[in-house]
């Protein structure tokens, strides 16, 4: 064991390490308890879950205070320790990890609070709390673990808990379908991630990020450049799955089948950011070609998803597509080298997107109650809404603020982090050119489209004349989380200066882990900021103007997500199923058919007629000599046994067969002496 293995010696560090590992473990145990004692706990299960998550948040604040900004505590426990094969559970708490822990547990705690009201009348709530606990524990595992194999394990557990939560309403067949699609698409990414991790482990001799970083720093990674690119792309495939990058983004809109608080926590704020976070940890393994690929993928994702968001009617699907679009921007930042800005955007996005989803949940909840008499009405269809701002002033205000942040209006947090990414992308494009140009262009276009579709949504829900809907505003329990989250949309979350993200104190913790960042040229940054401020204003105006035709105009291509889902079904799903059917037919007809044909040739079903068994029995009586005969005798006996079996006298053949085999063996032993 090298010195980095094992628990830290100093009591202060030991306390930090144990506190960090204790959080996910306590959550798992608590979740298990709620699951097992669900019946008896009833509503108390939810309070217990909320209490746990609140404690986790406090614990992560303690961790944050202990390591911020540039401290690092490492600890390890053995998981598999064998000669020549060591997979330790090594975890690391640094500024970025502590920030992510606080983000996950803080938002999770608010979502728990919200869920208490939102899902009050649900059955099987103990399952819900347990699944959430599993999710948070696994997510914390991704954040904390330093060895890639434990990271992968938590990675998959996050996918699994997401499956469970999307499919929480088991009576809905559609939820089952969406959950399955989510897990499968993620698994495609996971397969790539696993292959990448194992190739890396095999070639570099370690899967430990700390050690790999050291090796990469001294240029001693010992991997041929071609392989390095291949490994980088495989690792990125995993990030694409979790962070919903085109074409592995298809699961995310479907994931909205889950309860809305789940969408807010998992499919907007935390889980989908895991890919970005992981890239922020493995950036030193990315050669320039891979970075260009990441940037292009991110830009394309941002643009395609923004276009798709323009045509949606479902309130949650607009937000889902906007999440994909924002994740694309983060990836663009990662690829362009503005990693610190990408991670900063991850943080700001978590706040305003979670707030948007929770506010959307209030609207859906209210619509469902208003339309309770008519089950045909889809409470998520924005065409049914309109004019809600008067009846739901709180929700309107709490929707407007994060929506402006998402749009990237100056004085919001989104403006700062998004412009940081775009400035980085343009700087990189000016410097290295090539594929960075289209990537930066696509990202900027997506950023300009964001205010358009968000304003359209706001108009559809809250704008226009009232439609006489008897909806109620959010009850206090649902309003509190919103009140706490929405101010996070302001620039103050990031920095005191509303125009320069580079001065953000958050970066002090993020940047060391992400290997610093790209310093955007001031001129570029100024241009990007000015252009985007203007662009956002224009976009908002456009979205506002579009309201007149908005309600009637159906853009089928955009609604269908640019037909990418249909294309994927045609290009992947159907061929695989056809291949499976083909394989099954082949198995039945060819492989098994051959076996049956040989069987018929060897032993005639009726025991009459020509067959190998008959031939063998003839040989047996005439040519008793040598080893071949013994085998034939066995075959013949089999044939006879088969015939008798059909005669129905089976039991006593147990002894006969035993004797036959033993005799054959003894005979062979005896005869063998003469060979």
């Amino acid at each position: 064991m090298n010195p980095a293995d094992g628990l830290p010696a100093s009591p202060g560090e030991l306390r930090i390490a144990l506190l960090a590992l204790g959080m996910p473990l306590a959550l798992l145990l608590g979740g298990l308890l709620i699951l097992l004692a669900g019946r008896r706990l009833r509503a108390q299960g939810g309070y217990l879950a909320l209490l746990m998550m609140g404690l986790a948040f406090i614990a992560s604040l303690l961790l944050l205070a202990a390591v911020w900004p540039a401290g690092t505590v490492r600890a390890a426990l053995p998981w598999i320790e064998l000669p020549g094969l060591s997979i330790p559970l090594r975890w690391r708490i640094d500024g970025l990890a502590a920030l992510m822990l606080a983000l996950v547990s803080g938002i999770a705690a608010l979502v728990h609070l919200y869920s208490l009201a939102y899902l009050r009348n649900e059955r099987h709530l103990s399952r819900y709390w347990a699944y959430l606990a599993l999710f948070c524990a696994a997510m914390m595992g991704i954040v904390l673990m330093e060895h890639l194999i434990p990271v992968f394990m938590c990675w998959e557990l996050v996918g699994m808990s997401s499956y469970l939560l999307i499919g929480f309403w088991t009576e809905r067949a559609q939820a089952g379908r969406a959950a399955q699609a989510a897990f499968l698409v993620n698994r495609i990414g996971d397969a790539g991630l696993l292959a990448g991790i194992l190739l890396l482990t095999g070639m570099a001799g370690s899967g430990d990020l700390g050690r790999l970083h050291g090796l990469a720093g001294s240029g001693a990674l010992g991997i041929a450049p071609g392989w390095q690119t291949a490994i980088a792309l495989l690792l990125f495939l995993g990030c694409m799955g979790k962070s919903a990058q085109v074409p592995l983004h298809l699961w995310l809109p479907g994931a909205m089948e889950g309860p809305t608080p789940v969408s807010a926590l998992i499919h907007a704020a935390t889980m989908v950011a895991a890919g970005v976070y992981l890239l922020g940890r493995i950036w030193f393994l990315m050669p320039p070609q891979a970075e260009a690929f990441i940037a292009v993928t991110g830009g394309a994702t941002a643009l395609l998803a923004a276009l798709s968001a323009l045509g949606q009617w479902d309130i949650k699907r607009v937000l889902a597509y906007s999440t994909i679009s924002q994740l694309g921007l983060m990836m663009l930042g990662m690829g362009a080298g503005a990693r610190d800005m990408a991670l900063l955007h991850l943080v700001t996005h978590a706040f305003f997107k979670c707030a948007l989803f929770l506010a959307a949940g209030v609207v859906v909840h209210a619509m469902a109650h208003a339309g309770a008499s008519d089950p045909q009405d889809d409470p998520q269809d924005m065409r049914q809404m309109g004019g809600l701002r008067r009846r739901m002033p709180w929700t309107f205000a709490l929707y407007l603020l994060p929506m402006l942040a998402l749009s990237g209006l100056p004085l919001t947090s989104g403006f700062l982090s998004k412009d940081g990414i775009l400035a980085g992308a343009w700087t990189q494009a000016l410097h290295s050119g090539g594929w960075m140009w289209p990537a930066a262009l696509a990202g900027s276009a997506a950023a300009l489209l964001t205010p358009v579709y968000m304003m359209r949504q706001l108009q559809l829900i809250f704008g226009g004349p009232g439609r006489g809907l008897q909806v109620e505003d959010a009850e206090p329990l649902m309003r509190i989380p919103l009140l706490l989250l929405a101010p996070g949309s302001l620039w103050l979350l990031v920095a005191f200066s509303p125009f320069d993200a580079a001065q953000s104190p958050l970066l002090a913790g993020i940047a060391p882990a992400a290997g610093g960042g790209l310093h955007a040229e001031p001129a570029v940054h100024a241009w990007v900021s000015a252009a985007s401020a203007l662009g956002v204003a224009a976009g908002l105006w456009l979205g506002y103007r579009a309201r007149a035709q908005a309600r009637s105009r159906e853009r089928r291509g955009l609604l269908q997500g640019l037909y990418l889902e249909a294309a994927a079904e045609r290009a992947v799903q159907r061929p695989v199923l056809e291949l499976a059917a083909l394989a099954a037919r082949f198995d039945r007809r060819a492989v098994d058919g051959l076996v049956n044909a040989i069987g018929r040739l060897a032993v005639h079903p009726r025991g009459r007629g020509p067959s190998l068994a008959a031939l063998a029995s003839w040989l047996d009586t005439r040519w008793v000599d040598g080893l071949i005969n013994g085998l034939a005798a066995l075959a013949a006996r089999t044939g006879r046994a088969a015939r008798r079996l059909q005669g129905g006298q089976v039991q006593r053949y147990l002894l006969y067969m035993l004797a036959a085999v033993l005799l054959a063996v003894c005979w062979l032993v005896w005869k063998g002496g003469g060979i």
């Binding site: 998959e156 399955q180 397969a191 482990t201 070639m203 080893l627």
Partner: protein, 526 residues
Amino acid sequence: MGKLSILVFLPVAAMLPVLLVPARRSGWLRWIALAACLAQTGLALSLIPAAGSGPWLLVEQAPWLDLSLGSAGSLRVEYLLALDGISLALVLLTSLMMSIAVLASWQQMQRPKAYFLLLLLLDCSLVGVFLAMDFLLFFIFYELMLLPMFFLIGLWGGERREYAAIKFFIYTLAGSVFMLLVLAGVMFSYSAGGAGGETVYTLNLLQITGTGAGGQAAELLSGSVFAPGQTILGLDARLLGFWVLLIAFAIKLPAVPLHTWLPDAHVEAPTPVSVILAGVLLKVGGYGLIRICYGLFPDAGVAMSGWVAGIGVTGMLYGALVAMAQTDLKRMVAYSSVSHMGYVLLGLASLEAAGVYGAVFQLVAHGLVSAMLFLIAGVLYDRVHDRQIANFGGLWELMPRYAFVTLIGFFAALGLPGLCAFVAELLVYLGAFSSERIPVIYPALGVLSIVLGAAYFLRAYRQLFFGVFDPGKTSAWRDKLTDLTPREYLMLIPLALLIFWLGIYPGPALERLEAPVQAWLAWVLG
């Protein structure tokens, strides 16, 4: 009588009281069988801390047959049982599966005496196979295994039981014949070096595979059939021997394309027999590969790594694809076994420590998981005598606990971290990706099977459990589809706990495998 002999023959001893139970007291039969299996499990558990120098924890040896061959020397066949970490793991698995199988047979009303007799005989032969270290003794136990299985499928099976039983029998017998060919050759290839310089032919695998226990290492006689450089019909004799044994055990494993007996046998076999078939019997194939095939022909094994890995990966992908097209729950699970047993071949072929650990771990992990899956399929079949996945739906509503247990089983099977199959798969891939003996494309393709595996298990899960139970089509079912009974819990919960334990903390189990795996690698690569 040593502990190992007791382990092997305890079930046979229990056959006597089973025979003596009067017909009107047939309820006692299952208690006797259960007691025997549990006692066996307990004895096997007591062997876990057994000390031993080197990889072998316990060896029991007695002369059995000594045939004088005149001037040619003599042939020595021994009664030789030996236990190392690998066989201990499989013996534990066997006794546990047998206990569960007896529980699953609790309501066996049809000819219960014959049924439990056969079950006990099967138990004896399986444990014997995992402990015998004399090739002939191994072969006898191997053959003995076939008979009770044949009758258990053929007499207590489903509609096409006779076809399935005969198919199973002939397939397996074909494998045995292949093994017999090699056995005949090996019989006169190794000399243990008797007194006075006479040749003592031996089948003692401990001596042949040079593991240092059970006497001095046997010497491969020059000029014998399997001496290096010998040819048979123009083919290298050692390569040929390896391939013949590979085919013999690949049938049992089963490896594509020698697998078609498995789906039929599983579909027709009653639930407890399926549990044993998937949980233990298939492992004999993997175990035989490790001990006999690679043990006898290590050089050929090294040379054929690419082929073995290729067969393994083919099985992983092909099995998964065919499973995806199945509509019958049991058939789907059966093909998933084909897919999962491919990992054993891939792991062994890597000839890396991680891969071999993974292969052995997969034998145990797949045993636990597949047993659980067949019990899960049995739960539905017991209630409504239907296995068509599409006929169900909305079962979460009717059988929530069953849904939850199935969730664990299916996710274990698709290799979710935290559950035991993942550890095996991880180790196999770890070995395969870092091995220089197999092209990297094999494990890279193999990784696709984790996507395919997730696809068919999750699709089946969705069809069975999601949605609303449709009372129109199957109204009579609603009353029959009740949640798990205590007896079913008793079978499923221990399996689930083991699956969790080996998945979360595999360290202690893997440490028991360390000495034998290292010794095996040293022999094969040496």
